[in-house]
Amino acid sequence: MKKVLSMFSVIALLSATAIGCGGGGQTAKEETIKIATQSPLSGNSATLGEAIKLGAQMALEENKEKFKQMGFNIELLPMDDQGDPKKGVANAQQIGADQSVLGVVGHLNSGVAIPSSVVYEKFKLAMVSPANTAIEITERGMKSVNRICARDDFQGPAAAAYALNDLKAKNIFVIQDKTAYGQGLADNFKSAAEKMGANIVGYEGITIGEKDFNGVLNQVAAKKPDLVYFGGLYAEGGILVKQAREKGLNIPIMGGDGLDSSTIVQIAGDSIKNTFYTSVAADVSKSPKGKEWADAYEKKFGKKPESFSFYGYDAMGVLLKGLEDAIKQNGNKKPTREQVMNAVRAIQDYEGVATKVAFDEKGDNKYAKVFIFKFDNQAYPGTLVGEKSKN
């Protein structure tokens, strides 16, 4: 009993010192404000996750000087959610407990963002998502949750419209990877395509991490569709495309923004031709402003930007704009998390490098766009073949 008691007193003492230190920080000249990023930095989708982190890092470093003059030192707190909901929530708890964190840029996977954002909401911590497309993300009426990209109920139908109108597909086979993202996208595509009069000849699921999709592809071959739609990520998508071509299926294969990665070209190799993907992120490097940005990115990190680098950059930009507004509203003092959260939601006129941002009452971007790309040869990114805007 004595031992337990002494343990408790030690813990109490320690936490008291910790609180004391936190209080002590107030008097320091420069206050540290941290912005966390959460994306998979390891695992199957690390290519996309790292792009988000690096984009966000770039935006933060460009704004460092501005915040320094306002008396704040802003820092990046990169977290690895591993594309795993359990890890994402654990990280979110950790981020929430760190009082110097005033915002989160993330996540990549909707399946991770949904449970993690419950934690952010609890801490009234503003989240700006560069990549989550699941409808549910903003439909739950959370004040802290925002996204700058388009939703599945916009991306899926945009793909369906392109498949039916431009590719003249009538019989479509739908494959999805059974995740919140893949299934959500595939279902939205399917219902829109059906509404437009297409015939869905098959609907199948695959398992993440598998390497042999011959079984599903045998079914595709038997049904002889004009187009295959795949809801999922590039790791499986690349293999699926490759094995489909090996089976002699030379029909167009279409997917969502989960395929928007240079790694899919590496995996599928020459087979990638005649593959389409919709993306919520534009290939901004084509515009002069974007080109300049892309060059700066490449110089800084030694690799070419992925589409999500632009969106990571813009998501961080929006968050920092919100933070700046909140600081001003608070009389140039460190704002509370709630103030930042409200300031972020109030943003109406942010001009990013990839997209213009204005949030509606749910936290969706009013200016979100969907772009359609085609791989004509073995090079990333594909050629832009279509564009659809919300407004």
């Binding site: 199948e204 079984g215 038997a222 090996e246």
Partner: protein, 327 residues
């Protein structure tokens, strides 16, 4: 039903290729179990390491410009030999470090150390791959990619044509060679007899002046090098590998070994082919057969359902003999 029939030739071919991979990996489980009564759960990871070594070798051939300089079969042969030699040594090393010190311990203990080794190997490979390429999903060069079509539809109008890449023939061919070679080795050579003797009764074999440690090391070497060679074939067949391919594949190969009667080499081959065929059949036809209730994503359930059924009703496996209590 018409649909099931029309894809049947293709399903059988795909199943045969996958089954051949399972069968050869299952050999590794069965050999080790036959001798030590230890389920070497790290075997799936040895297979994975083989796939990575093979891909790394091919990639370095490519950068050195050697890939075009020599005939394709020669470079494949060299890669398979490098990979099987290294994984063979890895297998012996694992046995020496993680299993031999525990040989007299209760059976659960080496099983746990096997699982530990398998996680260790996964993370080591992941670390190296990420260090070298920045991404642990690695795509290597494929050597034999010509498409082969067998016009089954001319045989009977209801069938679809069968298409596969030339590499599949190599997978099946090498797998058959390995199986025959191993069968001959175990049944005809002196070392094979020693292995069977150790499997039957370790103490008595020792009394008959058999060097038990050497025989066990040899078993690990052969089983692991076969696993490594299969890894290379797998990497060639599916061209994309990651450090986690060994886990599920290892479990299925283990199921194949149990189905055929664990410890029985011919049983492992048979079990592997059955599981491979069944898996592809399930993935292709579940939707049709269940009227849309179950989809292709449930294919793995079948392999493991078989494992449970076999363990419940015929624990010695289809080819195994029930062990009689020694009196």
């Amino acid at each position: 039903m018409q649909e099931v029939l029309s894809t049947l030739p293709q399903v059988l071919i795909d199943g045969l290729i996958l089954g051949a991979v399972y069968a050869v990996v299952a050999l590794g489980y069965t050999m080790v179990y036959g001798i030590l009564e230890l389920i070497n759960f790290a075997h799936g990871e040895i297979f994975m390491v083989g796939a990575f070594i093979g891909t790394a070798a091919l990639l370095s051939f490519q950068t050195a410009g050697l890939l075009g300089a020599m005939p394709l079969w020669l470079s494949l042969l060299i890669v398979i030999l490098i990979s099987s030699l290294l994984t063979g040594l890895l297998g012996v090393g694992i046995e020496r470090l993680a299993y031999r010190p525990l040989r007299t311990a209760p059976k659960l203990i080496p099983l746990i150390s096997a699982i530990g080794i398998s996680f260790l190997l996964q993370d080591i490979v992941r670390f190296i791959a990420e260090l070298k390429t920045g991404n642990y999903i690695v795509t290597g060069p494929s050597l034999y990619v010509e498409k082969i079509t067998i016009p089954f539809s001319s045989l009977w109008g209801g069938f679809h044509d069968v298409g596969f890449k030339a590499n599949s023939l190599i997978v099946i061919g090498v797998a058959i060679l390995i199986m025959i070679g191993l069968d001959l080795f175990v049944n005809k050579t002196k070392w094979g007899i020693a292995m069977r003797a150790v499997a039957q009764d370790r103490e008595t074999a020792q009394l008959m002046s058999i060097n038990v440690n050497k025989v066990i090391a040899l078993t690990f070497f052969i089983g692991s090098s076969i696993g490594g060679a299969t890894g290379v074939l797998y990497a060639q067949q599916y061209s994309t590998i990651d450090p986690f391919i060994g886990f599920i594949l290892g479990l299925k190969a283990f199921t194949a070994a149990v189905l055929g009667g664990i410890g029985n080499i011919r049983g492992a081959m048979f079990g592997g082919l059955v599981i491979g065929m069944l898996e592809v059949f399930a993935a292709s036809n579940l939707k049709v057969l269940t009227g849309g209730a179950l989809g292709a994503e449930y294919k793995d359930v079948f392999a493991f359902m078989i494992l449970i059924l076999v363990l419940l009703f015929k624990p010695e496996g289809l080819f195994g003999q029930a062990v009689k209590e020694k009196v």
